[in-house]
Subunit: 466 residues, 2 copies
């Protein structure tokens, strides 16, 4: 039983558990009340705020506790945008932000504002220059994650904060994925994080607003948490969150290099052990515990279930595993393969043996799924047969109504049947095809000609190179 | 050590504690994930939803868990208003709703909507006819609490729901104060509640939206909780909330009559033991565990501190105890005295002996505060002296800059010095005077003439009757 999905939610840290239990009896009263139970609750709250601020590297009065990381993101963005309304209503975000940031940007646009998505490199990283170019005179706020939640790539936050500061624009940092491993460097203005990502309990987020940052809390007025987080304080959970951040940080400092070694080993071995597999994300500037790869000719959901049966809990950005049937916007923005996507994120103290067992199990899992789906067993080469039998110059493959990875499998099956220079047109209506057919061409060194709307679905054209 | 502030927050119920502990190890994973830890979390979440829905009296798919009662109120009102936007943008609320409802109404108005506050009787109850009269063709939504949080008066929810239904307007019910004691009757459309009020943990609210009610979730899109409550589910707390609602309900059924007897005894004895004291709220249609009274010539904060020293934790709606320095909007809407206000709300299983000790301690606490403030010891009567010595016909008392209860004390001190028929003008700039001077006149059977702006503060005129 190996839980390899720490980036979704980390198991509760023992210190969080202890602190939660200890404060259940002391921390249930209303900290805004004047009587002893209230004063005791207030003291616990103040101590938790100081501890959390110490780990973030901010002043206690700059930090409030929200009811989740999502809430911290929503309130932080809305409050900063409202506070800077006079400067303008334009918001800059990277294309690979967490969905909570992107959905907040959509609401901002719906309410009359505007936003620009800054694109990323194939590694998943933004270029500071791209932020500089995207800044406008009416830009009220820029947002950038500290590290990507799907592929682990670290973002140049300090550099982007500098670019923004030069333009007088505050930078909001979603630090949910990296806060466990250390404070966010640079002169950012706002920061959000989520306790259950570092082993704290659910129900607690952090929102930091640096002194001097204009901020107008969104939503109905509420006196609690400096007016920035409405609702009765979830005190035992807040105490547990602060205590576990400190404890888990100390362990993460010791663990980071070991975890980095384990994920480096997965990066290296997966590419060697599994044919037609692409490891994605920046190989150097990355979170220590996270590695992501995609495998041709398999679907993420089946791989997830097969790994689950083998005792491994992992996550996937493949379209087939989400309810919306669209592939991960992160993989799309990076321009990498989304099919058969697997994200491994190791909790602190993951034994090396579990990683080794994963590497032993994975090749069989992938080849089993490929076999069931009838995927081509070996990479396509210009076989002798293709020259011997007469072939149509061009081919149309109809994969309408078929889900990922079938359109790519059908393409791969026939690429050897057309002459070099001829084209194959894949008709497909699965959104993942738009990402995966070009990605397949890149991996297979075939020419991707382009797409156009067809009577049924979309027509993707590929020209055989070799 | 008697905690008499259950209406603010109830101590954690033992069942909540057990359920929280049990689910800490099982319920930390993401319930939307496909692997075993996620599926286990999903099962816990589904079971909690069914249990809570059973207690509320709704279908499980009508109920979502929010991060607090405040959040349930904010989201419920905003979602129902947005869902009915085509019908209009007018909102009806009672004047004695919880501040979370009133603040949401203010935001609705700021955003271009409008709202009407429906007044209440001196008992704190609304009249269904008043809702009928206030309904407009463009009314999108009406809101009414099930019972008042400051004075315990139960509202005629079923009748108001009927009035609203006739007009095709959904009714939103804030059931935070009453859900412990039973389901809310009638054909309401939306309901909000808060777990820490029934002995559940902080960090959990309920939002119920009946089938057929138009609802458009506010804020950025989020897949969790049917799109009605953004953020990672606080699963252990949700499990604890549902389990404790069921357990506390069963106990509350057995406890209600005993608590009602205890609060009836406080109502009766306080009026007899403490001079110049007004018990407020409906004597019959009220919550079993809550009683509120106000005492002339004392300030709530000092009484609270004195009671705290005696081991009693109570709450107050007096202006001097809040950071805003305005008296409770509930007491103001009822037109009752706000000074020296004390709310007693008994947790389940409060021993009678604690109530008796409270009644023994209270008179001394109040008279001690009155003595320190120099309040008149006995009610004013037309003394012989006033006729014997020449007196000015009218008198001006300058209490500008003095806080509640000083303006009323100064008034009471001099009322005996003017002839019957003469007036006293009190100059004051404390907001509480606006409520407390008329309330004092009513209690003392003196004539309240009215108020008008003065050069410094406001001039309140009182005519001596007897």
């Amino acid at each position: 039983m190996s839980y390899f999905d720490a980036a979704s939610s980390a198991p509760l840290h023992p210190v969080a558990r202890q602190a939660l239990l200890a404060s259940l009896d002391e921390g249930w009263a209303d900290p805004s009340r004047l009587y002893r139970e209230g004063r005791r609750a207030r003291m616990l709250l103040d101590a938790a705020r100081e501890a959390a601020a110490g780990e973030v590297g901010c002043r206690p009065d700059e930090l409030v506790f929200t009811s989740s990381g999502t809430r911290a993101v929503h309130s932080g963005l809305a409050g900063a945008l409202a506070g800077r309304r006079r400067a303008g209503r334009h918001l800059l975000v990277s294309a690979v932000e967490h969905s909570s940031v992107l959905h907040a940007a959509e609401v901002h646009e719906r309410d009359g504002g505007s936003f620009t998505e800054v694109g990323v490199e194939r590694s998943g990283a933004v270029r500071p220059a791209a932020y500089r170019e995207a800044l406008r005179p009416d830009t009220a706020l820029a947002a950038l994650q500290s590290a990507n939640h799907e592929v682990g790539t670290e973002q140049p936050v300090a550099e982007v904060a500098e670019v923004c500061a030069e333009a007088g624009v505050p930078l909001f940092v979603d630090a949910a994925q990296s806060l466990l491993f250390g404070p966010v460097p640079g002169s950012w203005s706002l920061l959000a994080a989520s306790a259950h990502k570092w082993g704290g309990p659910a129900g607690v987020g952090l929102l930091v607003v640096r002194k001097g940052t204009r901020f107008a809390p969104p939503g109905p007025a509420d006196e609690r948490e400096s007016g920035r987080a409405a609702g009765f304080e979830n005190l035992p959970a807040i105490v547990a969150a602060a205590a576990s951040l400190r404890a888990a940080r100390a362990e993460a400092r010791a663990e980071a290099e070991r975890l980095r070694g384990l994920t480096a080993r997965i990066r290296e071995r997966v590419a060697a052990l599994v044919e037609d597999c692409e490891v994605v994300g920046d190989p150097a500037h990355r979170l220590p515990h996270l590695v992501t790869f995609s495998c041709l000719y398999v679907d993420g959901e089946t791989v997830l279930h097969a790994l689950d049966r083998e005792g491994f809990s992992v996550s996937s950005g493949s379209s087939c595993t989400s309810s919306t049937l669209t592939p991960s916007h992160v993989l799309r923005a990076m321009g990498v393969l989304s099919e058969g996507n697997v994200r491994v994120s190791l909790p602190l103290h993951t034994p090396q043996e579990e990683v080794e067992r994963f590497l032993r199990v994975l090749p069989g899992v992938v080849s089993g799924v490929r076999e069931r789906l009838g995927a081509p067993a070996t990479p396509v080469t210009a076989s002798a047969g293709t020259a011997a039998t007469p072939q149509p110059a061009d081919l149309v493959v109809d994969a309408v109504g078929r889900r990922c990875p079938i359109p790519v499998i059908e393409l791969a099956k026939v690429i050897g049947e057309v002459p070099v220079g001829a084209t194959i047109t894949v008709l497909a209506d699965d959104e993942a095809a738009r990402l995966d057919i070009p990605a397949w061409c890149e991996m297979r060194d075939q020419e991707y000609v382009g797409e156009k709307p067809a009577e049924r679905g979309t027509a993707y054209r590929v020209r055989r190179r070799g």
